[in-house]
């Protein structure tokens, strides 16, 4: 459910702010770029560390 939580949290942010998403779902590596592409938000990067993923999304619109 990372994109569900991302979508909800991003609503609370201002344009230009960056959200850090912590997930243990490997699917996030493909899902977050897809979600960003469809919603027009910028994916700054995804880091992987021992099964934990950190994604950084910048609210762009």
């Amino acid at each position: 459910m990372p994109i569900y939580h991302t979508a909800n949290k991003l609503k609370e942010l201002e344009i230009g702010q960056v959200l850090e998403i912590l997930a243990d779902d490997e699917g996030i590596k493909e899902d977050m770029p897809a979600w960003c592409q469809v919603t027009g938000n910028e994916l700054l990067g995804i880091e992987e560390e021992a099964g934990q993923y950190k994604a950084y999304v910048k609210k762009s619109k």
């Binding site: 459910m1 994109i3 569900y4 991302t6 979508a7 909800n8 979600w35 469809v38 919603t39």
Partner: protein
């Protein structure tokens, strides 16, 4: 403001695994800012029936049907490996292990994101089920024309 893309899902199945998949897609689409409508028909009506109480209907066949097919999100079987409930219990454990939300929670999440729940009146008529049998979250009761009107505008139309 660009118009939202539409997504429709026909939920024909009354099985837990299929319902979970349908809601996963609905929530995913809503998370992407899409306008989602879910049409529950035939066995899919079981997903949106109330869990409490009984189903009133007239006629021996309908009463038998609605007794055997009580429905409600808590009573949905798996489509495979139900194994008289053992399979469903095991899937429940696996879901809890990976912190996957149960069906009721996914339904609430979907509703919270504006996903529309529509019950099929054709199936309701055939099975003799009235509006009172359903959860209050159902937005409307409609037929195939309503579904098609939405589906023709839909970018993603799925049959589960």
């Amino acid at each position: 403001m660009a118009e939202k893309e539409r997504v429709t899902l026909v939920v024909f199945s009354g099985e837990l695994d299929k319902a979970l998949a349908a809601f996963n897609i609905a929530i995913g689409a809503a998370s992407m800012g899409m306008e989602v409508s879910m049409f529950f028909t035939f066995w899919g009506l079981n997903v949106i029936k109330r869990n409490e109480g009984g189903i009133k209907s007239k006629g021996i066949m309908r009463r038998m049907l609605n007794f055997m097919n009580r429905g409600g999100s808590k009573r949905l079987p798996l489509s495979k490996f139900q194994m008289l409930g053992l399979g469903k219990w095991m899937i429940g454990r696996l879901m809890r292990d990976v912190k996957s939300p149960p069906l009721e929670e996914m339904m609430a999440m979907a509703k919270g994101m504006g996903v529309k729940f529509i019950a099929c009146t054709t199936s309701m008529g055939m099975m003799g089920i009235s509006k009172e049998a359903f959860i209050p979250e159902v937005d409307s009761f409609a037929g195939v024309a309503t579904y098609l009107a939405e589906a023709k505008e839909g970018k993603v139309n799925l049959f589960v």
